[in-house]
């Protein structure tokens, strides 16, 4: 059972467009929600993260919107550029007492056309 559901699987936008990637989670104990960007042949790189006491967070061109009641969060990329073409993963984690592990979505492949 996928604890973090991510959509869409793939996305194509034109340069300057605003791609939106959505994630939904089941476990209300999750208290940390990061987004990672991964280029081919590279490890995931942390983009931005949010905790459930905040409804929105912006860092540069990246914005997370968080809806606690709906158990959903989304990533918006403003003024998208061809260099943003990558796979994006949402994830969630909770304090399990002795450890934290990240539970990941299946990823969204984003292509930004020039």
């Amino acid at each position: 059972q996928q604890q973090v559901k991510q959509s869409p699987q793939s996305l194509i936008v034109q340069k300057g467009g605003i791609p939106i990637i959505n994630c939904a989670y089941e476990n209300t104990a999750f208290d940390y929600f990061p987004w990672y960007q991964q280029f081919p042949g590279k490890g995931p790189a942390l983009l931005i993260a949010i905790r459930p006491d905040v409804s929105e967070k912006k860092e540069g061109r990246f914005t997370i919107s968080f809806n606690k009641s709906a158990k959903q969060f989304s990533l918006h990329i403003m003024d998208s550029q061809p260099g943003d073409s990558a796979t994006y993963f949402c994830a969630a984690s909770r304090n399990a007492g002795n450890n934290r592990k990240l539970i990941w979505g299946l990823g969204t492949s984003l292509a930004v056309n020039p």
Partner: protein, 113 residues
């Protein structure tokens, strides 16, 4: 400052062999986590170590084991390799076992023939 470093970058093995993958965390980070990423999917949690002790384990068979050394570096060992073990193995480090964020290395690409 150096990020998380993993070695080797690529590895080819045959079924039944064993493999050891290595990870050096970011300086000052005391927790290391291992993830398996199969092509086209998100990473799956394998282990988390902190202060040389296993603090968490994912749903992987006993063929997978790991350890952490006094300098906080870590090794992931996989015995009796199967074709299905072919994946990108990622190491992540964080300040401690409960802290976020986790920072990832570029992984070891393991191919089983």
């Amino acid at each position: 400052d150096a990020g998380v470093t993993q070695s080797p970058t690529h590895l080819i093995k045959t079924r039944g062999q064993h493999v050891t993958l290595r990870c050096s965390p970011i300086s000052g980070h005391k927790s290391v986590s291992w993830y398996q990423q199969v092509l086209g999917q998100g990473p799956q949690f394998i282990f988390q170590y902190y202060e040389k002790e296993e603090r968490g384990r994912g749903n992987f068979p006993d063929r997978f084991s790991a350890r952490q050394f006094p300098n906080y570096s870590s090794e992931l060992n996989v015995n009796a390799l199967l074709l299905g073990d072919s994946a990108l193995y990622l190491c992540a480090s964080s300040l401690d076992q409960r802290n976020q964020p986790q920072h990832f290395g570029d992984g070891t690409r393991l191919s089983i023939l």
